[in-house]
């Protein structure tokens, strides 16, 4: 899966940078698609947007605002919750998070793997996380101290 990185300018602020990705051939970020796909959970969608804004401008991505260890050990996959709504992301530190997509987690399930739709979104984020992690490791993406990104020549495999 190839993609571009987008910084969401209306959510990023003095404290943190809100990033998402646009899959090749799409014009919307996964974060925008997440909002559109889950519009029926209006108050939770709105709550997540408010939290993103507050973190970007006032609080940063404090570790405890997220639930961690959602993927393989050490891959940085985390989730931002509101009610039963789950937004998957790649957590780097309190200034940098890449947001993917997610969905509604039925209360009767314990793990996202038990729900096909949610599992697909989580797996999609895992793939993106893997590529971004590799790019950071290879210095193709450099995360600066303030959370801004420097992207060098990065060819997709």
């Amino acid at each position: 899966m190839d993609f571009d990185i987008v910084e969401m300018a209306d959510y990023s602020g003095e404290k943190a940078h809100v990033y998402s990705v646009v899959p090749e051939g799409c014009d919307k970020t996964l974060l925008e698609q997440f909002v559109e796909d889950n519009i029926e959970y209006g108050s939770d969608v709105k709550n997540i947007q408010k939290k993103l804004y507050q973190m970007g401008h006032y609080y940063g991505f404090r570790r405890y605002f997220f639930k961690h260890n959602e993927g393989s050990l050490g891959d940085g996959m985390a989730v931002l919750k509101s009610g039963q709504l789950r937004l998957y992301c790649l957590y780097f530190d309190n200034t940098v998070v890449f947001f993917g997509s997610g969905g509604y987690k039925p209360p009767e399930i314990h793990a996202y793997q038990e729900d096909a739709k949610l599992n697909a979104k989580a797996q999609q984020m895992r793939q993106i996380a893997q590529k971004i992690n590799e790019a950071v490791k290879n210095k193709d993406i450099v995360i600066e101290n303030d959370g801004s990104l420097t992207i060098n020549n990065w060819d997709y495999d």
Binding site: F3, D4, I5, V6, E7, M8, A9, D10, Y11, K15, V22, K28, T29, L31, E32, V35, E36, I39, G42, V45, K46, N47, Q49, K50, K51, Y53, Q54, M55, Y58, Y59, G60, R62, Y64, F65, F66, K67, K81, S82, F92, D93, N94, T95, V96, A135, K139, V142, I143, E144, N145, D146, G147, L149, T150, I151, N152, N153, W154, D155, Y156
Partner: protein, 116 residues
């Protein structure tokens, strides 16, 4: 080559964002403020969420839920929390200190590919 784009949100996401009132935004901000203060005070005591939970007693999951920043705390609970943390209740509403980001060494000065 990957592109890096900085832009505002579009479509439904932008529409919803524009419906958020200052009051709604402030309520969310205050919930996150209290959660951030509780987390900072807990960590300053060297407690993990599990150790903090034992003081009440609560479950670790209940504490983690508090720290996520969406709990609508009542006065009884805030009083209980402040007593466990050994602070006045108003300390839970104090401006939070910046957390330190990790240090990354800049490895290259190559130009960023920026598209608007």
């Amino acid at each position: 080559m990957i592109r890096f784009i900085k832009r505002k949100s579009t479509g439904v996401m932008a529409e919803i964002f524009n419906t958020i009132t200052p009051e709604e935004m402030q309520i969310t901000g205050n919930k996150m403020l209290v959660a951030a203060n509780i987390a900072d005070l807990m960590e300053s005591k060297g407690w993990t969420p599990a150790q903090f939970a034992e003081k009440f007693p609560k479950t670790e999951d209940e504490i983690l839920q508090w720290l996520e920043g969406q709990t609508d705390f009542d006065i009884d609970t805030l009083t209980q929390i402040s007593l466990v943390l050994g602070v006045d209740i108003q300390r839970l509403f104090a401006p939070v200190k910046d957390t330190k980001p990790k240090k990354n060494k800049r490895m290259s000065n190559k130009k960023l590919v920026l598209a608007e």
